[in-house]
Symmetry: C2
Subunit: 78 residues, 2 copies
């Protein structure tokens, strides 16, 4: 069974670069990557926060949050 990874973003240029270069570079044999646009899915901000996400773009994988460069803080998306 594939491990789930979630890439949270907000449509910003920094986010798009990270999605294209990092999130989509993950091994599709091992990971199922879900892309979540927190600007459009505000209901999932709580879920992202609970996973340790403080800013976007961020990748949650293996139970840990990895902030990739900096686009916007989560508080700015609420």
């Amino acid at each position: 069974m594939k491990e789930k990874a979630v890439f949270y973003h907000a449509g910003c240029p920094v986010c798009i670069a990270a999605e294209q270069q990092v999130a989509r570079a993950l091994d599709p044999q091992r990971f199922e990557v879900e892309i979540v646009h927190l600007g459009q899915e505000k209901a999932r901000i709580t879920e992202a926060e609970a996973a340790g996400v403080r800013s976007v773009p961020a990748l949650v994988i293996g139970g840990a949050a990895f902030h990739i460069n900096f686009g916007a803080s989560l508080s700015a998306l609420k």
Copy 2:
């Protein structure tokens, strides 16, 4: 031919987590990932800086630098 990706780190706990969870999660069919410990290979700090790296851990892929969380600034490694 595989695309080259370089993961720069300095052995810090934040670096090791990013290496294990992100750098090693890249698709081995598409990417050849080189792991560079800048604390041990100080001669390569210049190369990292030229690629846009300002702190470690960072992944350089597709010509762009992606800083993953924050372990240490490059200036602290010199």
